[in-house]
């Protein structure tokens, strides 16, 4: 019973929150702007890993594969996998 009441209260809270957010007031508030900035910053931080990984693939794998020598490609692939 208590948990059903709790769920109902949570539903109401969620609806109020969604309505406030939909109105755009929250987005314009300082808290809303900070939350958005934090989310965007976090996404930017994760780009560092992607850049590092892609640079590694380009330098170690893609450039030698462009040579199109199948034997050499097989060797490059095998060596690359052994060292990551």
């Amino acid at each position: 019973m208590a948990s059903a009441k709790g769920e109902k209260a949570k539903d109401v809270a969620r609806k109020v929150r969604d309505r406030v957010r939909a109105s755009g007031v929250f987005d314009r508030s300082l808290r809303g702007r900070v939350e958005r900035l934090e989310r965007e910053l976090e996404a930017d931080r994760q780009l560092h890993r992607k850049i590092a990984e892609l640079s590694d693939v380009v330098a170690e794998l893609l450039v030698p594969i462009q040579d199109r020598d199948e034997e050499r490609v097989a060797e490059v692939l095998s060596q690359y996998r052994k060292t990551i």
Binding site: R45, H48, R49, A52, Q66, T83, I84
Partner: protein
């Protein structure tokens, strides 16, 4: 193992112990670290205020997960403060139903200890002088290769440096040696690339190296007794006005106290060390670093941790939990089954008799081995290194050949690109049973990138996963797999250019074949099209690349 609750009071004496944990009366949140010995062997240390729960005038704490499989038999449990001047309890205790004395040792008979991270390891206290020498020489070699081969300035770190400065030797309750190096880079992407270079160079000389994050590596150094010691390599760098050292330390630090490096002696061996080691020890352990504390837990700046997580982490979520789960996969009573699943049979009926199959997330490899037994060429790739051991063992025990076992970490884009390069030359169907519920969004993105790149020749991606269902309990293994909404997954697939050709949701089973009210089966394809390797590449273009 009984399902007993951790004791929350002691009815006789000061200590209560059962199979789930222990309670010590009179220990509060600010009490010093507690050492736990079994038959005089130090096995574990904990800090009441950090690791335990305070209630009924004492502290309750559960036994560490890694210790539980050993808790079957009798031992004398001694609980004391660090120097043993105060003993809270020292009594025989029987765990489980075992008749023998508990032996907390590795397969070579060497005593185990549990480190601060809750991992099984061995403490220097119970390590012979010969092995200590091997560990110290191994650490010297790692530092030398980091300098000579990888071009970075490495030095003794953390507990090893603390032991060297404070005692001139290894700390008895320490369990490994740590090495740090200073990176001159100030951008996270460059720091990560530098670790790729280091990892590559060390693997090229045949070392067993694990990547722990974009900023730290682990060398598994073989010892003459057949065991391994772990030598961690942590990067240290400056970004903005903060000095960071993996893992998770950050703060203001004067680099003049670090460089140029000096030397320090540890148990008769000379090591590179910070120019002013005491300054770095204050940075790591605070001003009270001279007072021994085996269960030391640093206060970490949560903003800095969040930053480091964002920049450098995300390779290994959940990996630590899969290892012990998979380690027991061949033991009696394991939840892992060894026969092929219904889903495998369902897929087998729809693909060519000789089609090659990539089994992604095979866990113990039940379906990899089953597919191979049906005559398919199979590549079996899990992110857990333990899975590789289990899959090979299962194939051996069933006398099945033709399973090519290769680790693939879907969160590591380099692994995925390598796989794309291989599979685009050797087409496979991609089979993933109960995998997508274990993946985060970055890994799923890589999974579908893989599909988009290599399923251009008419092969499919076959997925089975638990879906949300009112009142349904969490699928097993709980906490490691979650239910996935097919509509959300379809959206992700379509974003990656794929098409869901078949979707059915019906009662089925989870990873361990427990009944589940809502399980989806999905077949996904990508349109056939011009392959990248058939694109026009004139000499001019080649030159301009």
């Amino acid at each position: 193992m009984t399902q007993t609750a951790v004791p929350t009071r002691a009815t006789a004496g000061r200590v209560a112990i059962n199979d789930a944990g222990l309670f010590v009366k009179g220990l509060g949140g600010d009490s010093p670290a507690v050492l736990v010995h079994f038959d005089d062997q130090h096995i574990w240390s904990f800090t009441p205020g950090v690791d335990g729960l305070q209630r009924n005038g004492g502290t309750s704490i559960a036994w560490p997960e890694v210790l539980r499989p050993f808790l079957d038999g009798t031992t004398r449990v001694r609980l004391s403060n660090l120097d043993g001047s105060e003993v809270y309890g020292d009594d025989e205790h029987r765990f489980g139903s075992g008749q023998d004395r508990i032996r907390f040792v590795d397969r070579t008979g060497h005593p185990y200890a549990i480190d601060k991270m809750g991992h099984l390891t061995r403490s220097f206290e119970s390590t012979s002088d010969e092995l200590k020498r091997e560990i110290l020489e191994g650490t010297q070699t790692v530092i030398r290769e980091l300098h000579d081969r990888c071009g970075v300035e490495a030095f003794l770190g953390y507990g090893a440096l603390l032991g060297a400065v404070r005692e001139g030797g290894m700390i008895a309750h320490d369990t490994d040696t740590d090495v740090c190096y200073f990176s001159r880079h100030t951008v996270p992407a460059d720091i990560i690339r530098e670790t790729f270079h280091i990892e590559r160079e060390l693997k090229r000389i045949g070392w067993n190296v694990l990547r722990m994050s974009g900023g730290d590596l682990k060398v598994l150094w073989p010892l003459s007794d057949g065991g391994m010691c772990h030598i961690d390599i942590f990067s240290a760098f400056v970004i903005g006005d903060l000095f960071y050292v993996l893992g998770n330390r950050s703060g203001h630090f004067d680099l003049a106290d670090l460089l140029p490096l000096g030397t320090i002696e540890l148990d008769g061996h000379e090591f590179p060390a910070p120019r002013n080691p005491e300054a770095l020890l204050v940075y790591w352990y605070g001003p009270s670093w001279r007072v021994p504390d085996p269960a030391f837990n640093p206060v970490e700046d949560r903003h800095a941790m969040k930053r480091l997580d964002g920049w450098l982490r995300g390779f290994r979520q959940g990996m630590g939990a899969w290892t012990p789960l998979l380690r027991g996969a061949r033991q009696r009573g394991s939840k892992f089954l060894t026969e092929g699943s219904d889903f495998a049979a369902w897929v087998h009926g729809q693909i060519g008799a000789r089609d090659a199959v990539l089994d992604l997330g095979p866990a113990n490899g039940r379906d990899s081995v089953w597919f191979a037994a049906q005559g398919h060429r199979v590549r079996s790739s899990d992110y857990s290194r333990r899975s590789a051991v289990e899959v090979r063992a299962l194939a051996r025990s069933k006398g099945v050949e033709g399973v090519n076992v290769r680790q693939v970490i879907l969160n590591e884009t380099r692994h995925v690109f390598h796989l794309i390069a291989v599979l685009s030359r050797h087409p496979h169907h991609i089979y993933a049973r109960q995998l997508v519920g274990c993946l985060d969004s970055a890994a799923r993105e890589n999974l579908f990138r893989l599909g988009a790149s290599v399923l251009r020749g008419g092969q499919s991606m076959w997925l089975e996963f638990a879906v949300p269902h009112p009142g349904a309990r969490a699928p097993e293994p709980a906490g490691l797999v979650r239910r996935v909404d097919p509509a959300e997954l379809t959206e992700e697939i379509e974003r990656a250019g794929g098409r869901v050709e078949h979707l059915e949701v019906a009662p089925g089973v989870d990873m361990f074949d427990n009944p589940d009210p809502a399980v989806a089966r999905m077949r996904v394809t990508w349109p056939t099209g011009p392959r990248a390797d058939k694109a026009d590449t004139s000499a001019d273009e080649k030159e301009s690349v």
